[in-house]
């Protein structure tokens, strides 16, 4: 398979997945036990208003028609109306998008900066003190609830040392960097436990490969071998891990936003659950799933451009 057809096939593969995502998101609303109109209206429910809402939501039509209606609205960017915000769900969601985006990228950057040296050094000094320490740290870090770690970091850095704010998002770019440092660090610590483990094992694989031996036998210095072979492969490994664990990263963001009261999609999602704002829950779920699919597509394409073997497969 050549590169062009790989790219085309990979992009075409996204279409049925996106279609399936809309089906699952659509069926989410059907999970509501009993009459959704009664649930949505709550204490405002009257037979007349219930009937009207059922008609607006299309609940009085056959399931296939309901889905087609849902898709028609979706193509017009219409995700339904938010009950608690009295606005369209799309508007509410886009207003909460940036903090989440900023936080995910910030956490990913911190995790990468921490993990690459840790993973590589662990592999180079396999079984050494550093490796053992890293192993225990990742073991404990993996079992740590992110929200708990966040509270502990607040306790240490915000309350006792007073270095960082307890919550909020900030106003300028620098303000965002400052306000979101602790939350991003919290997510990054959890994510690093996965990243370090993967990097360590992939680096061990590279170190024991024939081409590294060949390079050493040719008389190339240790450092150059590391830079040319080991480090390059580590970068590819990081990109692949990002693709696989992006969903994990987003899940971490959802809960950490709630700990630090950041006005992002995670906070919106959890708030909407308690206010039974179903269309917002549906919309946020959809946005997250679509983002995961698109970023996975991106990491696959980048991976293929860095590692030609992917295309041949």
């Amino acid at each position: 398979m050549n590169r062009f057809s790989f790219v085309v096939r990979r992009i075409l593969h996204v279409i049925p997945v996106l279609f399936g995502i809309t089906v699952i998101t659509f069926f989410l609303l059907r999970l509501i036990p009993g009459d959704p109109a009664r649930q949505i209206l709550g204490q405002h429910y009257t037979p007349a208003s219930g009937h009207a809402l059922r008609h607006v939501l299309g609940l009085d039509r056959p399931l296939v028609q309901q889905y087609l209606l849902f898709m028609k609205h979706l193509f017009h960017g219409n995700l339904g109306d938010s009950i608690s915000y009295h606005e369209s769900a799309g508007t509410v969601i886009s207003a909460h998008f940036m903090p989440t985006f900023f936080l995910v990228v910030y956490a990913a950057v911190i995790a990468t900066i921490v993990s690459i040296p840790t993973g590589i050094v662990s592999a180079l000094r396999r079984g050494g003190v550093f490796d053992q320490t890293a192993r225990v740290t990742t073991l404990v870090g993996f079992a740590m609830p992110a929200f708990w770690l966040g509270i502990i970091l607040i306790l240490i850095f915000s309350i006792h040392l007073q270095l960082f704010p307890v919550n909020g998002y900030g106003t300028s770019f620098v303000g965002h960097l400052y306000h979101l440092f602790l939350p991003a660090l919290t997510i990054a610590i959890g994510f690093s436990t996965i990243l370090v483990r993967t990097l360590r094992s992939s680096t061990l694989g590279v170190l024991s490969s024939d081409y590294v031996d060949t390079a050493r036998i040719k008389g190339i210095s240790r450092f150059t071998v590391l830079r040319r072979h080991v480090f390059r492969n580590a970068i590819v490994a990081v990109i692949v891990v990002f693709g696989i664990n992006l969903a994990y990263l987003i899940s971490g963001t959802v809960i950490i936003e709630n700990v630090f009261s950041i006005p992002g999609l995670g906070t919106l999602l959890v708030d909407s659950v308690s206010t039974r704002d179903y269309s917002v829950v549906q919309g946020v779920t959809l946005i997250f799933a679509v983002s995961v699919v698109l970023i996975n597509l991106l990491t696959d394409l980048v991976h293929a451009s860095l590692d030609p073997r992917v295309v041949i497969e």
Binding site: P16, V17, G20, I21, I24, L28, L29, L31, I32, P33, L139, V140, F142, A143, M144, P145, A146, F147, W148, L149, I151, I152, I154, L155, I159, L246, A247, Y248, I250, S251, V254, I255, N258, V259, L269, V270, S272, V273, S274, R276, Y278, V281, Q282, V284, T285, F288, A289, V292, V293, N296
Partner: protein, 296 residues
């Protein structure tokens, strides 16, 4: 019969040798140490949760207005009390029942269902396999935590609905792992041999395929159990799972967050319990991987 066995050793026999440490006696002690430590940690926590009434005289929900926010190592409360004067040690012990129930209840069901689906999918192949794997791919597109929250949101927040949400979404990992190993194994000699002997599909799947891939499933199940404990605690923390006054650990952490300035122990101690359970499961997983993985 014995002569053929010595030349073609069955995978099960190899496994047995590895477990008993016959093949590599030198590595045995270190390998099993991970497993032993993990089992000890988890075993101790399980026993403590079961025999909680014998370990503490306090009821987890009994309020003592005269003794609120007592720090750890107080005369009568070894881990202190919360804002209502409830004993933290008792609450952590009884909370363990809920969190361990989440770990085992969520993991065991998805393990069985996911493995069965994956085994069927990989063994039968054809359109059934294609359809099942497309569904699995689809679920993987959703951030797991977000999907669980969304399902809980629709069904209504409660512990039981949390279980339903995990059951609905979490089998996909097991299905994918099992299916991957089944597709490879179903063309191996021992499976073809079993078929040639005229054994039925069900027998081939359960007696021949399953024993050879169960180790991979179990190793993953330990990682999954850590994930489920964290998920249960996270939903409790967000108020979408266990509800106060339930002593579920995540709910306790959320509760203690309001007193973080004056009483650090309220949030910190239940978190340590979660870490301990997670480390226990992880160590068992690592230990199993060392023993069961053929190439290491």
């Amino acid at each position: 019969m014995s002569t053929t066995e010595s030349t073609t050793v069955s995978p099960g026999h190899l496994l047995l040798e590895r477990i008993q440490g016959r093949s590599r006696p030198r590595g045995k002690v270190r390998r099993n140490a991970t497993l032993v430590v993990g089992c000890s940690i988890l075993g101790a926590i399980i026993l403590a949760a079961i025999f909680a009434p014998f370990l503490t005289p306090y009821n987890p929900n009994t309020i003592d207005p005269l003794n609120p926010l007592a720090p750890p190592f107080s005369p009568h409360h070894i881990l202190g009390t919360d804002e209502y004067g409830r004993d933290i040690f008792a609450r952590i012990l009884y909370g363990g029942r809920i969190d361990l129930l989440i770990a085992f209840g969520a993991t065991s069901v998805t393990l069985v269902v996911g493995t069965a689906i994956g085994l069927f999918s990989g063994y039968s192949g054809g359109w059934a396999d294609t359809v099942i794997m497309r569904i699995v791919d689809l679920f993987f597109a959703f951030p797991f935590f977000v999907l669980v929250i969304a399902i809980v949101a629709m069904l209504g927040p409660s512990i039981f609905n949390m279980f339903v949400a995990i059951w609905l979404t979490s089998w996909i990992s097991y299905a994918r792992i099992t299916r991957g190993h089944t597709v490879v194994a179903k063309n191996r000699e021992y499976v073809l041999g079993a078929k040639a002997l005229g054994y039925g599909h069900l027998r081939v799947m359960l007696r021949h395929l399953l024993p050879n891939l169960v180790s991979f499933v179990l190793i993953f199940a330990m990682v999954d159990a850590v994930g489920n404990v964290l998920l249960g605690a996270a939903l409790g923390f967000l108020g979408l799972g266990a509800k106060p006054p339930s002593p579920e650990w995540g709910a306790m952490i959320a509760d203690g967050q309001n007193y973080i300035l004056s009483a650090w122990w309220l949030s910190t101690l239940p978190g340590l319990a979660i870490v301990l359970v997670g480390v226990g499961f992880s160590l068992i997983g690592d230990g199993l991987a060392d023993i069961l993985r053929p190439s290491d």
